[in-house]
């Protein structure tokens, strides 16, 4: 039994060498699949990265009652900082407010009014996992209930727009990713089915010689796994070149790269699994 299993494994290896054209084509298919996977994933983490960067700018603005003095305002400011989800805050005194006035009207408020009548306030950033329209609205509502808070501004309109945009993109990325997954498996198993189809004569001879389905299947499956490994190695080599290019382009456009600790085992495991699933599906369908 052991010598038979060894023979079948060995057969799988030799099948690669015996029928080079189909083996090469299957490997290329898996290689391409892995490239598409990797690039899609690369696109996805970049989208995600850009999205997180944008959400960094989400903040809640608070204005205090005009009747309160600076110290009272500071107390309220500090109590807001303790609210769950608030990461950090920026206290806005009269001078900061004047700067903001200047930013929008490009005039010094004291110059045109004589005094600085602007209200005190604070800007708050939320922790990354709270950067979402719904959650931030809830936080803004909570702040609004605090005594001495005159007004809470959360630009939910703009944020909703950006959020919506990013969500659309990520949804699209997911739809595409899911499609790619299904497509890859179909593609690989079709390619392997074709290579099996081109050996249909040999398969029927093996059956007439008394080979069980297992005996016929195993070499194909091992060949499939090896083709997957081959495709994975090819894709890693190509991705390495892609990395060099991206590193070079890093100066021109910001990109997030997949870490090699994820990329290398990921490609090898997915490649071999594709080979395994593809050949298993292919040969099983054929033998039915």
């Amino acid at each position: 039994m052991i010598s038979k299993a060894a023979f079948l494994v060995f057969e799988g290896f030799r099948a690669l060498v015996r029928a080079k054209v189909p083996a090469i084509i299957s490997s290329i298919t898996i290689f391409i699949t892995l490239m598409i996977f990797s690039i899609a994933y690369f696109g996805y983490i970049n989208l995600k990265g850009y999205s997180l960067e944008f959400r960094k700018q989400y903040r809640i603005d608070v204005f205090f009652d005009a009747s309160l003095d600076r110290d009272q305002c500071l107390d309220i400011f500090n109590s807001i900082l303790l609210i769950d989800g608030i990461e950090q805050g920026d206290f806005i005194d009269r001078d900061r407010a004047a700067k903001i006035f200047e930013r929008y009207f490009h005039k010094d408020v004291t110059e045109i009014v004589g005094t600085n009548p602007l209200p005190l306030g604070g800007k708050f950033e939320v922790a990354p996992e709270y950067r979402d329209v719904r959650i931030m609205s809830a936080i803004a509502d909570k702040i609004r209930l605090i005594n001495g808070v005159d007004l809470t501004v959360f630009q939910s309109g703009l944020i909703k727009k950006i959020d919506g945009f990013l969500d659309n993109l990520l949804t699209l990325a997911f739809i595409i990713g899911g499609a790619i997954l299904i497509v890859s498996i179909i593609m690989v198993s079709n390619t392997i089915r074709l290579t099996i189809h081109s050996k249909r004569g040999d398969i029927s001879t093996l059956r007439l010689l008394g080979a069980t389905d297992r005996f016929i299947k195993l070499p194909f499956i091992i060949e499939g796994i090896l083709q997957g490994l081959g495709g994975a190695l090819l894709s890693l080599m190509t991705l390495w070149l892609f990395y060099l290019l991206m590193q070079y382009l890093q100066g021109y456009m910001r990109t997030y790269l997949i870490s090699p600790e994820l990329l290398i085992p990921g490609n090898i495991i997915i490649g071999m699994s594709l080979g395994l699933i593809g050949s298993y599906r292919g040969i099983s369908k054929y033998l039915k």
Partner: protein, 216 residues
């Protein structure tokens, strides 16, 4: 060993075999004669279960083959050595690998395989070609490799379909000798052939077919 009881296996109304009854003993060699299209290959294919039987029973080594479960067919076929009319060699393997294949299927150890394959290639005189591909040897050489592949596993039943069609008279005679000698080990041999001059001097039993029916 091989027992046909009123066997009918047809492809259409007038092609196939009809109502065949015969018996071949352990250790016996029987020739299946008949002109082209008479149904010789059909008889053999019915035995190794390549085609379904519509009527009657085929009993091999005491087993009614219609009772064999689909899952068990491979194991049944392992006990039969078949020489196919069209050889059915695997072109992507060497001669050696082709002959070794039935032994691998039977789960024989590598050492035994090595010995047996060398032995049988020696016997048919083609040891020199062991590393060649079937596409790179002559028609008669291919035929002898197909014979070697059937004999290498010392089967209880040998089915030979026109095993000398591509061989000259001398070599043909040697091959029939080889098949004949297999009966000494207890095998039952059924050989389909049109070559009457080849088998006439042997005075063995033969079954004659014509248009799928038994003569005499």
């Amino acid at each position: 060993m091989i027992d046909f009881k009123n066997v009918t296996a047809t492809f259409s109304d007038n092609a196939g075999i009809f109502d065949l009854t015969f018996h071949i003993e352990k250790g016996e060699i029987v020739f299946l004669m008949g002109p082209t299209g008479a149904g010789k290959s059909t008889v053999l294919r019915a035995i190794y279960m390549d085609i379904p039987v519509q009527k009657g029973r085929i009993i091999i080594d005491g087993v009614d083959i219609s009772k064999i479960k689909k899952r068990k067919i491979p194991f049944f076929r392992r006990s039969i050595g078949t020489i196919f009319q069209d050889f059915k060699l695997l072109n992507d393997r060497t001669v050696f690998e082709n002959v070794a294949l039935p032994l691998h299927i039977n789960g024989v150890s590598r050492k035994v395989i090595n010995r047996k394959v060398h032995e049988v290639l020696e016997r048919i005189g083609l040891l020199d070609l062991k590393k060649e591909r079937p596409t790179n040897i002559s028609g008669g050489e291919q035929q002898r490799i197909a014979i070697a592949r059937a004999l290498v596993k010392d089967p209880k039943v040998i089915l030979a379909d026109e095993p000398t069609g591509n061989l000259d008279l001398v070599t043909s005679d040697e091959i029939v000798d080889l098949l004949d000698s297999a009966t000494q080990g207890g095998a039952a041999v059924l050989m389909a052939t049109h070559n009457f001059p080849l088998i006439r001097p042997r005075h063995k039993r033969f079954i004659e077919l014509s248009e799928g029916r038994q003569l005499a």
